[in-house]
Structure formats: structure tokens, C-alpha cells
């Protein structure tokens, strides 16, 4: 165990914290990672897999943790969507259940950031290497890249090749290979994807898991310590005293204080901002929590007149046309031969008054799901809820995310885009979520502690350092002033690598 104070104390053992810790240790720094949850063993993973296949519980990481692992600490709900499901409070964090999509942000999607695409681009390339991203430079409108993808893209499915691509051609929307942190060939100790199609648990290890890669490596070092099941209450900044992290060991209930030369809050888009709010006197900016947002998803269910073949468990292509040419907010569209909305299909089949397994089987083989990931305006807010306290009496986060006029226009456009693609594919659209009042939260919370050039415009500077401090940094999607319709992890890991370089060279940059 390294002697205190360590060089860097990282709150959160998700992908951002793991990559940062790994690089810092490689650069000779000592780190202590404090994680609210526990670490999953190989045996537990095997049990989850067996349960999942039988439809038994627990069948995923959050079910295995149970509500008692997190509800008493932070149960945020927005319109029925619970961030309890979006994150995994365990070693590995959201990488335990993510879809592993790693699109690069477009220059336009970085418009609000205090740096441009060109300065981030080398770090994006390095992040692709760290995460092991498979992809192809086949997007004709993608910005320039200085390094190739570490692995080739996954082969396209029968449906994508024979049905989707011709439909996209008709519409003038290029079909682009997805960049995913799922190995398409053996990579850095990870197996190539074995097509088992249960990606959430990925038994082959082809998908990136922070706990099995960066954290597993870093914990071999005497310069690294991982404190599991340790809840962080706040960062205390009493005048005349060194800054300290107030933590509680969840197993014993014992409180203690940790010191470090530098603190990095890498606890996700919700809890990072909440921790800043709980740490009174830390963040000088009144903008903490202001401008919270998330991606919104619209899903449609399409039934074709023919068998569409099989799919991997993840989508291997996307349509980026409406990212490059947004009418309102940007939209990323995906279509894959996989049924997600069984309720709609069952009710559709029951319209003739009978339910036959044969008809259901036929329909399942003809079903296609269309999903549009849309950009949301930063008009929400995250604040402390005095009426809803956690297990230690600290206020939980309350999130208010109204839909702006522009959001509604973006969602209307997304529903229209789903209609258009459905028509081009020649199927019968059974549902188009937004039109039926269904909205899915993207689980990409961002914008509650944004980076900016000046304290007037943000909570943190361009390095992620909280304005008004020398030694406290944020490393989560809370930093993002915008997200477009790009999944956030690749950009976040690029920021982690950049931060590691700065902290590793000579303390706080």
C-alpha cells in the first residue's frame, strides 16, 4: 500500500478512472482509486451468464448488486428512467454493461469545448488503442484521422449487406461501419468476438472491460491501491488544512479521511456533479449542475416480408448522414435484424384474435429494429434534493430535464427519418416510439460541470481542473459542453490520457 498522501486519488473505477490510473502508474506516479462498489469475480460472471440464458435472475451486473448497493446512495429518476440502471457502481463502472460504441466526435460536436478537434485528435487515436477499437475509415464525411483503427471493422451482416445498404443507397445516406471496443481479432490479450451475441456479459472478453484490462494491470503495481466498497461523501477543503476526501467503508460503516496531492473525480455524469455540490466551498462556479442533458433515443419496430438473417449482439453499422447534416439536433441512426420490442410484436400478431408460436417465430425472423440516437439541448439542471437523503444523510441528486422546442423538432425529425428508412426497406412499421410518446434515455448524462476557457462560462478549465483550485479535477462526461449524437466514452478516455500526461509530468498541470 502506498504511503499517504498519494500523488493522485481517483474517485471512481470506471473506464476513465481506470485508464487514468494505468497511465499515471506507468509514468511513475502513485495512485489510490476509491470505488463505491465491489469487484466481480470470474465465477460470478459465469453465474450471471447461466442465469441470463435461462431468463433467471440475477442476469446482469446491476441485478447482482441489488438495489441496496446503490439506491441508498444515489437514486435519480427522470420521467421514469432511472440512472440506477444506467451506471454500474462496481469496479469497471459502466464498462461492465456498455454497448462499446466508440464513434469519434465530429468537429461540430466539439464546438462548445475550450479546444478544437485538431488538438484532441491525437488523443482520440491513443484512446482507440487503449480501448481496442475495431472500425473502418469508410465514412466519406468523417474528419481526418492521423492513425489507423487498431483493428478492422467487424464483418457486416447479411441484412446490412443485402437489405440495408441498398436502402441507404436509395436514400443517399452512406452506411458506415461502427467503431466499437470489441475485438475483431485477438488484441492485447483479448479474444476476438466469438459471436455469442450476449454482449452485455461478453464471456469471451472481446469487449473492453476496464476491470479486466487497465485495472487488472494497474493493481499489479506497488504504486497503486484500489479501495473497494468505499463511499465518498465529500471533499473537505477547510481553510489552513490540506484537502481531504471523506469516505465511508460500506462494509464496516467506518469513516476516514484520505489525503492526496491531487484529486480526480471520475464518478460519471451524475455523481461527479453531485460530489462537487456536496463538497461545499470547493467549486466556486455557480454553474455546477446547470445545463445537464443526455442523449434521447427513439426506437421503431419494422416487420419485413422476408427472413432478415442473424445479427451479432451489437450493431456493426450506423447511418451518420443526419450527424453531418443536422436539421435541428444531430441524429445517429442504426438498423439491425433483432427484435427488441416483443410487446409490440405480440400485440400486432394478436390482432387476428389468435396467438400462434408459428406466426411468432416467422415474425421474429422478419423483425428489424430501428434506433435513432439524438442530440439534446443543455436545458436541464442537476441539484441537491433536500427531501431525498442517502444512507449518510447527504442529499441525493435531483434532475430536471425539460424538452426544449429544438429537442422536440429533433425528435420529430428522428421519427421521420425512421419512417423514411422503414419505407426504403419496404417493411411495415409496427411502432415509432416518439410518435407514441415513448422516449428512451440514452444513459449518457453530460453537461453538469462543463469545461470552459473562463470561470464565467464553466466549472472546470480546459484541463478539467475545477476553477478556483489547483488540485481538484473532474474526469467524466459532466465536463462535456455538448455531445451531439456521439457516445461519450472514447472522448472521455482521450481526456483521461491527456490528463495523465499532464499530471504524470509534474504534478498538477
Amino acid at each position: 500500500m502506498p504511503a499517504e498522501p498519494v500523488d493522485v486519488c481517483i474517485v471512481g473505477a470506471g473506464p476513465a478512472g481506470a485508464v487514468l490510473a494505468s497511465r499515471l502508474v506507468a509514468l511513475g506516479r502513485s495512485v489510490c482509486i476509491v470505488e463505491h462498489g465491489r469487484r466481480f469475480s470470474a465465477e460470478e460472471r459465469a453465474t450471471l451468464l447461466a442465469n441470463r440464458r435461462r431468463g433467471a435472475e440475477p442476469g446482469n451486473f446491476n441485478h447482482a448488486l441489488g438495489p441496496e448497493a446503490q439506491l441508498p446512495y444515489g437514486s435519480v429518476e427522470v420521467d421514469g428512467f432511472s440512472y440506477f440502471q444506467a451506471r454500474v457502481p462496481a469496479v469497471g463502472g459502466s464498462s461492465l454493461h456498455w454497448s462499446a460504441h466508440c464513434p469519434r466526435p465530429l468537429p461540430s460536436e466539439l464546438a462548445g469545448f475550450p479546444f478544437d478537434y485538431a488538438s484532441l485528435e491525437p488523443w482520440l487515436g491513443r484512446a482507440e488503442v487503449e480501448l481496442g477499437v475495431a472500425g473502418s475509415p469508410d465514412d466519406p464525411e468523417a474528419p481526418a484521422r492521423s492513425t489507423p483503427f487498431p483493428m478492422p471493422a467487424h464483418p457486416r451482416s447479411y441484412f446490412e449487406r443485402e437489405l440495408l445498404e441498398p436502402a441507404c443507397k436509395k436514400l443517399g445516406w452512406p452506411l458506415v461501419s461502427n467503431a466499437v471496443a470489441i475485438a475483431s481479432e485477438p488484441y492485447a490479450g483479448r479474444a476476438a468476438c466469438q459471436a455469442c451475441r450476449l454482449c452485455e456479459l461478453c464471456p469471451s472478453g472481446a469487449r473492453y472491460f476496464a476491470d479486466q484490462t487497465h485495472l487488472a494491470r494497474v493493481l499489479d503495481s506497488p504504486r497503486a491501491e484500489l479501495r473497494v466498497e468505499t463511499h465518498v461523501r465529500r471533499i473537505e477543503s477547510a481553510r489552513g488544512r490540506p484537502r481531504e476526501l471523506l469516505v465511508v467503508d460500506r462494509r464496516t460503516g467506518k469513516e476516514s479521511r484520505l489525503r492526496a496531492k491531487t484529486f480526480v473525480i471520475a464518478a460519471g455524469g451524475v455523481e461527479s456533479a453531485r460530489l462537487l455540490l456536496l463538497s461545499r466551498g470547493l467549486a466556486a462556479s455557480r454553474l455546477v449542475g446547470q445545463g445537464f442533458a443526455d442523449n434521447l433515443l427513439v426506437a421503431g419496430q419494422l416487420l419485413l416480408q422476408r427472413d432478415v438473417g442473424l445479427a451479432l449482439g451489437f450493431t456493426t453499422t450506423s447511418i451518420h448522414h443526419h450527424r453531418h447534416h443536422p436539421k435541428f439536433g444531430s441524429i445517429k441512426l442504426q438498423a439491425y435484424p433483432r427484435l427488441v420490442d416483443r410487446n409490440t410484436l405480440v400485440r400486432f400478431l394478436a390482432r387476428d384474435g389468435a396467438l400462434s408460436p408459428e406466426a411468432f417465430g416467422r415474425a421474429v425472423r422478419h423483425a428489424v429494429t430501428l434506433i435513432a440516437l439524438t442530440e439534446k439541448e443543455r436545458v436541464g439542471r442537476l441539484e441537491l434534493d433536500p427531501e431525498n437523503k442517502d444512507a449518510h444523510g447527504d442529499p441525493q441528486a435531483r434532475i430536471v430535464v425539460p424538452l426544449s422546442k429544438r429537442d422536440r423538432m429533433t425528435l420529430d425529425t428522428a421519427a421521420g427519418v425512421i419512417d423514411e428508412l422503414g419505407r426504403a426497406l419496404g417493411g411495415e412499421l409496427l411502432s415509432n416510439g416518439w410518435r407514441e410518446g415513448q422516449l428512451i434515455w440514452g444513459a449518457h448524462p453530460f453537461g453538469a460541470a462543463v469545461m470552459a476557457s473562463t470561470p464565467k462560462d464553466g466549472v472546470c478549465d480546459a484541463d478539467g481542473r475545477v476553477f478556483g483550485t489547483d488540485d481538484v479535477f473532474v474526469l467524466s462526461s459532466a465536463l462535456f459542453p455538448g455531445l451531439g449524437s456521439a457516445n461519450p466514452t472514447l472522448t472521455l478516455v482521450a481526456l483521461a490520457l491527456r490528463m495523465a500526461e499532464q499530471l504524470g509530468k509534474g504534478g498538477a498541470p
Binding site: R54, E57, S157, L310, L345, G353, A354, G361, V364
Partner: protein
């Protein structure tokens, strides 16, 4: 993890049996437990398939939709089973709204189970690695 070609073949055989034999020629006895009876009636396998019982028991241990109060579950399961045995499908026309909605929810939940879904798609069950890892690129059979 290249395993269980046997399980894949079993799933394919189950699906094939389902396609060929929606109505069993003999009359298999109805399971005594109403829950199992309903799973047999709605599931994609012949009414005498042993795998149906295994899946039904596993499904029951999970979190299946529970029957609304006032619904005679035993009677409903019997009617569904008899429909399936005689016509190959479950007749929803004779059910009241409450029973019909429950049966639809039950069917949707049943088909969410990977092994049940696999029996419909001619694919190895999710979570099991196929012998051919490019199976998604092949034209459907």
C-alpha cells in the same frame, strides 16, 4: 469458448420440430401445474417436448408477469393448452380483456428468454459461441 455444437443442434431440432408439428398427432397429457401448462401452450415447441418443462420451471423462478386478481389462472391455462392442442394457436377471441392482456404479456416475457428466442431463429442460444462466428453474414436458410 467454442462449445456446445450439441446445444445448437438441439435448438435447431427444436425449432424444426416446432415448424413441422404445430399440432401434435397424439394427445400428450396436460401438465398438472397451470403455469407449466400455459408455458407449453405459448412456447415454440411441441406439447410433449421435455425442454418445455425445464424452461417453464426456470421461467417461473424468474419474474414472470403475475396473473391479475380475479383471474382463474388454472382455467385460463387449461383453455390455452386445449386451444393449442386442437388448433395450433391460442384463441384470444374468447377471452375477456384482462385475461387477454395477461396472456399477451406472458407470451412477450416468455419470448424474451434467450433459449426460447433461439428456438425461433435457428440460431444457437445467446451466450453460446457458435462453431461459425460469421453466422450473421450468412444468408438465412
Amino acid at each position: 469458448m467454442k462449445l456446445s455444437r450439441r446445444a445448437w443442434l438441439a435448438a435447431a431440432a427444436l425449432a424444426a420440430a416446432c415448424r413441422k408439428k404445430p399440432v401434435t398427432e397424439a394427445t400428450p397429457p396436460a401438465p398438472k401445474e397451470p403455469f407449466v401448462r400455459l408455458v407449453y401452450a405459448l412456447g415454440p415447441w411441441p406439447l410433449d417436448a421435455a425442454s418445455g418443462r425445464e424452461i417453464a420451471e426456470s421461467f417461473q423462478r424468474g419474474q414472470p408477469p403475475s396473473a391479475p386478481s380475479g383471474l382463474d389462472f388454472d382455467d385460463l391455462a387449461t383453455r390455452c393448452f386445449e386451444d393449442r392442442r386442437t388448433t395450433g394457436s391460442v384463441n384470444l377471441g374468447r377471452m375477456d380483456e384482462k385475461a387477454k392482456n395477461f396472456v399477451l404479456d406472458f407470451a412477450a416475457a416468455l419470448y424474451r428468454i434467450p433459449d426460447v428466442h433461439a428456438a425461433l431463429t435457428n440460431a444457437p442460444p445467446e451466450g453460446e459461441c457458435p462453431a461459425d462466428r460469421l453466422l450473421h453474414t450468412r444468408a438465412p436458410i
